[in-house]
């Protein structure tokens, strides 16, 4: 009986073709080959990794020169995740950090592993741990996580303007 109908499900779905655009292609091809490639803004000369759609958002211009950055970097800030949530794949507590790769001017987000969460600190030097080469795709997921290099911490001045 119609009176019994309390709700209906009307799922929607559309397929999309997404093109990353030439500005991001070098970044993705780089990852596919185990390289971290950013791009430099021709106006303000900042190096973006990832190259954000190939645009410098400060200047509103297309990014130009390709610049290899990292692979090592410095933790500028971080967060210890203690909260369990649906779909969590990593054992808590774990650390999500913003890492300023050497040669880049914006931080990127990644996981920190192979050290106690309590030992992670601003200025800590880290390096990537890659998946097996046979599994590489054009994605930042090729890097499993970052781990401490054991180098002395970076000076505060190095990352002060990225906080």
């Amino acid at each position: 009986m119609a009176d019994d109908i309390l709700r209906i499900r009307t799922p929607i779905g559309i397929d999309y073709t997404w093109s990353s655009g030439p500005g991001s292609v070098v970044y993705m091809r780089g990852l596919e080959n185990g390289k971290l490639i950013g791009r430099r803004c021709p106006d303000c000369e900042l190096v973006y990794f990832p190259p954000r759609n190939g645009i410098c958002p400060r200047c509103g211009v297309l990014l130009a020169a390709e610049v290899e950055v990292g692979p090592r970097g410095t933790i500028t800030t971080f967060c210890v995740v203690n909260v369990p949530f649906l779909g969590q794949t990593i054992k808590i507590p774990y650390v999500a950090a913003t890492i300023l790769l050497d040669g880049a001017d914006i931080g990127m987000q990644h996981l920190i592993q192979e050290c106690e969460a309590a030992d992670v600190r601003m200025g800590m030097r880290v390096e990537p741990v890659w998946k097996d080469k046979s599994e590489w795709t054009p994605s930042l997921e090729n890097i499993l996580y970052y781990k401490p290099t054991g180098e002395p911490d970076a000076d505060f001045d190095v990352y002060a303007r990225h906080l």
């Binding site: 009307t10 929607i12 559309i14 397929d15 655009g21 759609n53 190939g54 645009i55 400060r58 509103g60």
Partner: protein, 351 residues
């Protein structure tokens, strides 16, 4: 009211499927329109953008478009989930309030990113119409059928509109439909969505349009012959298709009346008629005499339809006719929604 004029218009290259990201498409067009008005980014005190997340398949996709503007130092900007023509309206209101003097308005869309016939269906009532996935072309065919049955539109008139649009397209390097054919040849083609034939439907495109509007004290510095916005209005019909007479557009008629279209002669009209019968319905509803007004000299949205930019492009193309001195009084129009549900109309004058 403050006098406001369109002083510059640029459209990006319309393509059938670009590999650029939406932001990469916008950047050069923004640069060009600034150059055209001979102004710097810092001269723009309001930015307004029209686009549609359902086209990109990405929520808040418009936020990344701000990257294209160079938002440092901070800028005042806004976005409408509509064709860029509605962004122009918001910018015009902003200038009327005195909060801004010069605005850059743009609209962009990548029609090739998905099945737009399906994506546009999501504009419909989400409970009882959209779940049927009627497809936009079918709805427009229904509108055309209603108009033909009401005797306000004929298939011959529709073919004439297409034929003229294809002829005008030959003079416009930025179109995606080519090859002049006369009405008889067009009527020999089979119907693809009765009563529509393939050529009655728009040539879908990926594209960008950008316009700069400003106040009287600066307009003449930016443009030799600004296109003054003498009237502008937008109106909306019911969303429920069953409550509407699809053979006409009440909201287009109201918007046209309030914009003052019929107060004087109309030299040129750029109507956002994405299907051939739209032009006839719109002209009738808006009080435009198609025998004395030059209709869509650009070829119109039939020959290049970059969604979310095509309406703003009508404003730009109408303004161009004023810039060039081809017209003293032009009507610009944009539509959104199914069967001409939402309409914005402006009267542009050279003096």
């Amino acid at each position: 009211m403050r006098d406001v004029a369109i002083v510059a218009y640029i459209e990006g290259q319309n393509t059938s499927a670009t590999t650029l990201s939406p932001v990469e498409m916008i950047v050069p067009v923004v640069h060009e329109v600034l150059k055209r008005a001979n102004v710097q980014r810092s001269d723009i005190d309001f930015w307004c953008h029209g686009s549609c997340d359902y086209m990109t398949g990405q929520p808040f996709s418009f936020v990344s478009a701000v990257d294209a503007l160079g938002a440092w130092p901070p800028i005042m900007e806004s976005h409408v989930e509509m064709d860029g023509a509605w962004a122009l309206y918001e910018a015009w209101v902003k200038i009327q309030t005195g909060e801004a003097n010069t605005a850059l308005v743009f609209g962009n869309g990548k029609s090739s990113a998905g099945d737009m016939n399906r994506a546009l269906t999501l504009q419909l009532d989400p409970y009882v119409v959209a779940p049927l996935w009627p497809g936009f072309r079918s709805l427009e065919a229904m509108g055309a059928r209603a108009a033909i049955d009401a005797g306000t539109v004929t298939e011959r008139q529709m073919a004439d509109v297409v034929s003229r649009s294809l002829r005008d397209a030959a003079d416009n390097p930025n179109v995606l439909a080519y090859g002049y054919r006369d009405a008889d040849e067009l009527l020999d083609e089979p119907m693809t969505a009765n009563p529509l034939r393939a050529h009655d439907c728009p040539a879908m495109a990926d594209g960008v349009a950008a316009i700069i509007i400003t106040t009287a004290d600066r307009a003449l510095e930016m443009c030799d012959r600004p296109a003054w916005i003498r009237g502008i209005d937008h109106r909306i019909d019911f969303q429920n298709l069953g409550l509407r007479d699809l053979s006409r557009s009440n909201s287009a008629a109201l918007a046209s009346f309030h914009a003052g279209v019929t107060k004087d002669k109309v030299d040129v009209a750029e109507l956002h008629a994405t299907y051939s019968h739209h032009e006839i319905i719109l002209a009738q509803s808006m009080g435009i005499d198609r025998s004395t007004t030059r209709m869509m000299p650009s070829g119109g949205a039939l020959v290049a339809n970059p969604l979310m930019a095509a309406g703003l492009a009508r404003f730009g193309q109408a303004a161009r006719q004023i810039f060039k001195g081809n017209a003293d009084r032009a009507v610009a129009h944009a539509a959104q929604g199914a069967c001409l549900q939402q309409n914005i109309v402006a009267v542009l004058e050279g003096n």
